[in-house]
Symmetry: C2
């Protein structure tokens, strides 16, 4: 939660987000901004909606984690969404409620607090329980967008535990061979403490996350593969057209699940993982599955899941984690396809973190303009932070 | 373990295996054989290697589960592999050893017993612990091929619990952008008790399992998509060529991870899930990761992982599981792409089970010939079972 934490030498990181870092990093597209200053500004903006300084810092920590680790789709470019939801989908005055509390499990009703606050509470409780019992699990209902799933998994890894987090989202994905938008992008994140940085897996169960389509639209680039299809399973390549159709929620487009639009390429696998995410978020919490997250007034909200496992329940944790670190080093050293580098999950984010803590966080002009507009409306100064 | 269990009306089921059931079911290719008779014969064959009647029944139950549920790649067509490994990779006289035993966790050294025996022991212990503590986990090292991962997950679902199982395998898969065969096909299975049959997800983290390439080769069909690539990431379409290269282990071919051969199609996701399977099997058990399973004399053997969760730790289990059943029914009823049906994971296997318990299990001529040869060598009668 502190700046000290953000500057620790051991870094943790998502491959999901970084697949287009090349073009996205071009200096012409983005200016760089100081990570600490952005984090402070984010907390002040959150407090501008009436939340406490503590809560502002929690939300800022989650967003800063994403921005500093190259998970651009889940950093400050998301803030426009939170601003639009504040006071309707998000209740800035809400308090959460613990509805199940056993030695190994927690269920929280988030009462539509900001998702970051519910997520942090649930994962902190899960980590504490796993340290006592060996493993623990949690689910949250009636929540809101909680940022990068990997943030919560990483909280466990920072304390020597194996962490998992999943969340459902708003409807965006066609189940295989359906053309009703029904499933969320439903990420699965896992972090495991290793050297030199955590193994960090954070992947939507769709081919890409919603935010990736947004990023391509902001960059005015065509989608490079079959990420979004029309109701006949035909790919849509124009990113702005695809995004527009997705945002109208009129079933004229859907993201594909990981594996694509046929069983022959494994589309049933992403679809199956996505349903598992629905189970461990919306079903076990007795909240809303993705298809019902936007139903009602106030809306039902989304649901999250969390798990932590203490590696000591398998034996000597140091040996286990050292063996895993060595195993990952062996993968990094394999022969590569000509012209390619072999990454382990977390490597790209660790490199992004090193770069961005030194050189600043790159933000798109559009994102900066959105943040300035929010600050102006709330009467918050961004002087010294978003000047250029 | 009993025939009664096999004929119960509630069935549990893998989408993974059934994607080519259409052509594979053609009467010209396969005769049908009585499921109970095959199961009995399988147990007698296993006993022919010197194993006990109990152990023979366990192995037969696992293989029969696959064959009766349409998971053809992991049924009796696997037996040739077991026969070839018996006495070298598989030690028919071995006993397993429990090396970690806590209220929530188990680690077993399988001492190269047949994988089904180690898997069944580990999952039975995990189910018993989860019933007491709410959730439990296990890992097995120094084991052998254990059949369909979903069998073990399903044992939990039959008792009202959520079950998981994973296993590593022999090397078959290139990590994304590597051209050393390093990872296994590494399936992830999960079963959840629902009506009218369990939600049953059992998917290799490669585009397809190894056995699927074998099936296509037996059928002399080309691979229908980019399942296997050469060291330059180029797809190999001839199934017999692909299988031959995979079986030579000379790095001249590798299966792709789910998501394919690029980050743009999600190849890093299947690769990441595959590494997680290595962690929860070979790493936490302090056994062998896939790359080392065939090292040594005797070989290190493969590793498995298991987990069970009691849904009562989230609240009223009946409500939770009823809600999930209704949710899955809603998916089945969505609008479909023209000409397609929407399946929920487990539907195809439930239908296969109903058909095969009534009409018999279809086996390829090649599989029947293999089984007859084994019986002849061991002096076991297959009269009345494999007559045609």
């Amino acid at each position: 939660m502190s700046v000290a934490q953000m500057t620790r030498p051991t870094m943790n990181v998502t491959v999901q987000s970084n697949i287009d870092d090349g073009p996205a990093e071009s200096a012409a597209d983005r200016h760089r901004y100081d990570a600490h200053a952005l984090r402070d500004l984010t907390s002040r903006i959150v407090q501008g909606y009436g939340l406490s300084a503590h809560d502002g810092d929690v939300v800022a920590d989650v967003l800063s984690f994403a921005d500093t680790h190259g998970i651009d789709s889940h950093g400050l470019q998301r803030f426009q969404l939170y601003d639009a939801q504040m006071g309707n989908k998000i209740d800035p005055a809400a308090q959460s409620e613990i509805v199940v509390d056993t030695p190994v499990s927690t269920v929280i009703d988030g009462h539509r607090r900001m998702g970051q606050l519910n997520g942090r509470q649930a994962m902190d409780m899960t980590i504490a329980k796993a340290k006592k019992t060996g493993m623990a699990i949690a689910a949250v209902r009636h929540s809101c967008h909680y940022g990068a799933a990997g943030y919560y998994a990483n909280l466990a890894a920072e304390q020597g535990l194996i962490g998992f987090s999943v969340t459902n989202t708003e409807p965006a994905v066609y189940p295989l061979y359906a053309n009703d938008v029904w499933l969320g992008t439903n990420p699965i994140a896992c972090a495991i403490p290793t050297r030199p940085h955590a193994f960090f897996f954070d992947a939507s169960t769709s081919v890409v996350a919603y935010g990736k389509v947004e990023l391509y639209s902001k960059q005015r680039k065509d989608l490079p593969a079959a990420w979004v299809v029309d109701p006949n399973n035909q790919p849509i390549h124009d990113s702005t057209d695809a995004l527009g159709r997705l945002m109208r929620y009129d079933n004229e487009a859907g993201l594909l699940a990981t594996g694509g639009n046929s069983e022959y390429t494994g589309g049933h696998k992403g679809y199956g993982f996505s349903v598992l995410v629905e189970f461990f978020s919306g079903i076990v919490s007795q909240g809303a599955t993705t298809d019902r997250t936007a139903v009602g007034d106030p809306v039902e909200g989304i649901s999250h899941g969390f798990m932590a496992i203490d590696p000591r329940i398998f034996g000597d944790a140091d040996t286990i984690l050292r063996n895993f670190s060595e195993y990952l080093d062996q993968i990094r050293a394999l022969h590569a396809v000509p012209g390619k580098r072999i990454y382990v999950h977390g490597d790209k984010e660790a490199e992004a973190y090193e770069d961005r803590m030194t050189n600043g966080v790159p933000l798109y002009h559009k994102t900066v303009a959105e943040l300035r507009g929010i600050c102006d409306r709330l009467g918050i100064s961004y002087a010294g932070v978003l000047d250029h």
